[in-house]
C-alpha cells in the first residue's frame, strides 16, 4: 500500500494501518485514517462480528480464540495479522496492548511503524514505581508515598506498617503496573492493610500479570488535572492545556472537561511546564498525558499515560487540534509544525462516558442487548461510539458503551448542551448511567465547578437512584401497553433472538 501524498516526503511513510483495538476508539482511529487517506485493517473476534468497525475498515482480520490473551492481547497474532494484510503501521488505541513496551518493541522489530512512544518511554512510565523514581530526578512534584520492592506478603505488610505513620492514613495502595482503577485499594486504618495488600496484589496479578504494589498518601478533596502532551521525538514538546477529570466513581472517570474551572493562566503554565518536563525526562514521542492531583494550587504527579486517552476529544474541541492526526504525523517522522504559542483554547468542552452499569446498585456493571440506540445530534455535539443498535454489551470488556462530547462558548452553555444531549440519548435493553450523568450535571457543586475526586462517593455513597414520579410511571406504562396491543412492531428485535448471555462467546478471562 502506497503512502498518501501528504506522507510521501516523510521519514517513515506508511499507507496501511492496522488498528489493534476494538469498540469506540478503534472506530475513532479508523475515521481519522479515512480522512488521512490511509487504508485500514480491523482485527476482530467472533464476539464483534456485528461491530460497525468492520464496515469502517478496508480489511477485516479475524483473531481466533476464546480469551483476550488469545486475541486482543496476543502480540504474535496481531503482528501476523499486520504481515498478512500488508499493514505497515499499528495504532494500539487505548487499553489492551497500548501501554505494552513488549508489543511496541515487537512491532518495531517486525519493521512496522508503531504509532506511539518508544518501548523505553512506555516501560519507564508504565511502571508507576519507576515513573515516580524518574520524576524525582527531574523535580516534578510527587504525591508522598513509598515504593515496595519486597515480594513476600509478610514483608510488604511489615514495611507498610513501618512507613504508614509518616505518610498518615488514609493510604492508597496501587499496582505498579496499574491503571483504570484496577489493583487500587483505600486503607483507612492499619487493621485494613493486610487484606488490602492481598486483594490489590491479586487484582493486579489478574489484570496485569504483575502483582507489585506501592503506597501513596490518599489525598482527598483534590482535583484530577491532566496535561495533554504532543512530542515529535526531535526535541519539540508542547502541551495542549489541561483536562479536569475530577468526577470519578471507583477511580474511573465519568465526566471530563476542558478547560478546568480551577486553573488560571499562571497555574496552567506551571502545570504545562511540569508535564513537558515529565515527557522530556523519557525522551517522549507522540501523544501522551501527564496526570496530576491538584490541591489548592499545589499539584502532584500521579502518572503518565503513554497513549491516546479516552477523554482526548475535549482537548480536540477546545484547541481545534486533532490528536489522532498528530499521532500519525509524528509516527511518520514529521516534526511537530505547531509551537506552544500557537496553541489557544477556545470555549468549553465536556465529555460524558456512557457506561453499562446500574447506578442504583452502587454502579455495578450491567449487560444486555442494545435494543434501541439513538445518540444525540446537534451543533457542538460529538458522539464517539463503537456500537450500533442490535449489538450486545457483555462483561468481557470495559463497561463503556459510548462517549458524548459537547462544545460551547462557555462552561454554563456546555453544561446545558450536555444535559440536553443526555436527555435525547435513547439506549434501551440494559441499565446505563445516562440519568445519573444528567443528575451529576444538575448538582450545585458540579455546576459551580466545585468538584473533587471524592464528590460522587461522598454525595452518593451507596449509588444513585432517580426520584420516583408516578405521573412518569403512568406514561411509561401507557407506552408499554400501547406497544404491546398495537401488535409487536416494537418488539421486532426480540424476534431476532438477541442473545443476552455474556459468557456465550468469549470466556470471561482477563490479562
Amino acid at each position: 500500500m502506497l503512502a498518501p501524498d501528504w506522507m510521501k516526503m516523510a521519514k517513515f511513510p506508511f499507507g496501511c494501518v492496522l488498528i489493534a483495538n476494538r469498540g469506540e476508539v478503534a472506530c475513532r482511529i479508523a475515521r481519522a485514517c479515512k480522512e488521512l487517506e490511509l487504508s485500514t485493517v480491523a482485527i476482530y473476534t467472533l464476539n464483534d462480528e456485528n461491530s460497525p468497525l468492520l464496515d469502517l475498515c478496508d480489511q477485516n482480520y479475524l483473531l481466533e480464540g476464546e480469551t483476550l490473551h488469545e486475541t486482543f492481547l496476543n502480540i504474535n497474532a496481531i503482528i501476523n495479522a499486520a504481515k498478512e494484510t500488508g499493514a505497515q503501521a499499528i495504532h494500539p488505541g487505548f487499553g489492551f496492548l497500548s501501554e505494552s513496551a513488549e508489543f511496541a518493541k515487537a512491532v518495531t522489530e517486525a519493521g512496522i511503524v508503531w504509532i506511539g512512544p518508544s518501548p523505553e518511554s512506555i516501560e519507564v512510565m508504565g511502571d508507576k514505581m519507576s515513573a515516580r523514581e524518574k520524576m524525582k530526578t527531574v523535580g516534578v512534584p510527587l504525591v508522598p508515598g513509598h515504593e515496595v520492592y519486597s515480594t513476600d506478603i509478610k514483608d510488604i505488610h511489615k514495611e507498610l506498617i513501618k512507613v504508614s505513620p509518616e505518610l498518615g492514613f488514609p493510604l492508597l495502595i496501587k499496582a505498579s503496573a496499574g491503571g483504570g482503577g484496577k489493583g487500587m485499594r483505600v486503607v483507612n486504618r492499619p487493621s485494613e492493610l493486610a487484606e488490602a495488600i492481598e486483594s490489590a496484589r491479586r487484582e493486579a496479578q489478574t489484570a496485569f500479570g504483575d502483582g507489585r504494589i506501592y503506597v501513596e498518601k490518599l489525598l482527598t478533596k483534590c482535583k484530577h488535572i491532566e496535561i495533554q502532551i504532543l512530542a515529535d521525538g526531535y526535541g519539540n514538546i508542547i502541551h495542549l492545556g489541561e483536562r479536569e477529570c475530577s468526577l470519578q466513581r471507583r477511580h474511573q472517570k465519568v465526566i471530563e472537561e476542558c478547560p478546568s474551572h480551577a486553573l488560571d493562566e499562571r497555574l496552567r503554565n506551571r502545570m504545562g511546564a511540569a508535564g513537558i518536563a515529565a515527557a522530556a525526562s523519557v525522551t517522549y514521542m507522540g501523544a501522551g498525558t501527564v496526570e496530576f492531583l491538584l490541591d489548592g494550587d499545589e499539584f502532584y504527579f500521579l502518572e503518565m499515560n503513554t497513549r491516546l486517552q479516552v477523554e482526548h476529544p475535549v482537548t480536540e474541541f477546545v484547541t481545534g487540534i486533532d490528536i489522532v492526526h498528530q499521532q500519525f504525523r509524528i509516527a511518520a517522522g514529521f516534526p511537530l509544525g505547531i509551537t506552544q504559542n500557537q496553541i489557544s483554547m477556545k470555549g468549553h468542552s465536556i465529555e460524558s462516558r456512557i457506561y453499562a452499569e446500574d447506578p442504583s446498585t452502587g454502579f455495578l456493571p450491567s449487560a444486555g442487548p442494545l435494543l434501541r440506540l439513538k445518540m444525540p445530534q446537534g451543533p457542538g455535539i460529538r458522539v464517539d461510539s463503537g456500537v450500533v443498535e442490535g449489538n450486545s454489551i457483555d462483561t468481557n470488556f470495559d463497561p463503556m458503551i459510548a462517549k458524548i462530547i459537547v462544545h460551547a462558548n462557555d462552561r454554563k452553555t456546555a453544561i446545558m448542551r450536555m444535559k440536553h444531549a443526555l436527555k435525547e440519548t435513547v439506549l434501551l435493553g440494559l441499565q446505563t448511567n445516562i440519568e445519573f450523568l444528567h443528575a451529576l450535571l444538575c448538582d450545585e457543586d458540579v455546576v459551580n465547578g466545585d468538584t473533587n475526586t471524592n464528590l460522587i462517593e461522598t454525595k452518593w455513597p451507596n449509588g444513585w437512584t432517580p426520584s420516583e414520579d408516578t405521573e412518569l410511571l403512568a406514561l411509561g406504562a401507557m407506552a408499554c401497553v400501547i406497544s404491546q396491543e398495537s401488535g409487536g412492531s416494537y418488539s421486532i428485535l426480540t424476534k431476532n433472538e438477541i442473545i443476552n448471555d455474556p459468557f456465550l462467546k468469549l470466556n470471561n478471562r482477563f490479562p
Binding site: G180, G181, K182, S199, R202, E203, T206, A207, R250, D358, T361, L364, P365, S366, A367, G368, L371, R372, K374, T395, D398, P399, L422, K423, E424, V426, L427, L428, G429, I434, E435, P466, T470, E471, L472, L473, A474, L475, G476, A477, M478, A479, C480, V481, I482, S483, Q484, E485, S486, S489, Y490, S491, L493, T494, I498, N500, D501, F503, N508, F510
Partner: protein, 164 residues
C-alpha cells in the same frame, strides 16, 4: 393489560380505538383508579406519540422477553408483565444473589459459619474489576451454591444465610 413498574406498582390500562382516534380509556394503579388527563396516542414507525391536551410526549419502547424498556423525557424505565411475575422464581429470604454476571474469585466463608454484618463473604470479578459481596446482617451461612472460578449470571443465588 397489567404491568408492573420498578416500584412494584401494578398498572392496569385499557385502550379504546374509535377508528379515527386512539385513546387511553382507563388506568388503575394497584387496583385504584388513577386520574389522568385525556390522553390520545399515535403509533409511529419507531415511537409512540402521547398527547395530553396539546402537550406531546414521545416514547421509545422495546420489549425483551418479559421486560419492557421505555424512554420518555430523558428517563429510562423498565416494566415487567404481571403474568411473568407470578411464575418467576421465588426469592429465598436471606439469600445473596449475584448483582451482576461475573466469575467467583474467592469464597471466604463455609457452611455453618457465623457471619457479621458487612463481613466479606465472597469476591466476584466482572468487567475486569473485583466486587466484594458482603453480609447484609448477622447470621449463619446455611448453603453455598457456588465455587471458585464458577461463572454466574445476574440474579444467581450465591449464598443462603439465616439471620440470627
Amino acid at each position: 393489560m397489567k404491568i408492573i413498574d420498578s416500584n412494584n406498582g401494578t398498572w392496569d390500562i385499557s385502550l379504546q380505538n374509535t377508528g379515527e382516534f386512539n385513546f387511553i380509556r382507563k388506568i388503575t394503579l394497584n387496583d385504584e383508579e388513577y386520574i389522568f388527563p385525556n390522553t390520545e396516542y399515535i403509533i409511529q414507525p419507531k415511537t409512540i406519540k402521547l398527547s395530553q391536551g396539546g402537550q406531546v410526549i414521545i416514547a421509545n419502547v422495546v420489549k425483551n422477553k418479559d421486560t419492557w424498556w421505555v424512554h420518555i423525557n430523558g428517563r429510562t424505565l423498565a416494566y415487567t408483565s404481571a403474568d411473568s411475575r407470578k411464575s418467576s422464581v421465588k426469592i429465598t429470604q436471606g439469600s445473596l444473589q449475584a448483582p451482576m454476571p461475573g466469575t467467583i474469585l474467592d469464597l471466604q466463608v463455609s457452611v455453618g459459619q457465623s457471619i457479621e454484618i458487612g463481613q466479606s463473604l465472597l469476591i466476584m470479578e466482572a468487567m475486569k474489576m473485583e466486587h466484594k459481596i458482603t453480609a447484609p446482617f448477622n447470621g449463619i451461612v446455611e448453603k453455598i451454591n457456588c465455587k471458585s472460578n464458577q461463572k454466574v449470571d445476574r440474579g444467581f443465588v450465591l449464598i443462603e444465610l439465616k439471620q440470627s
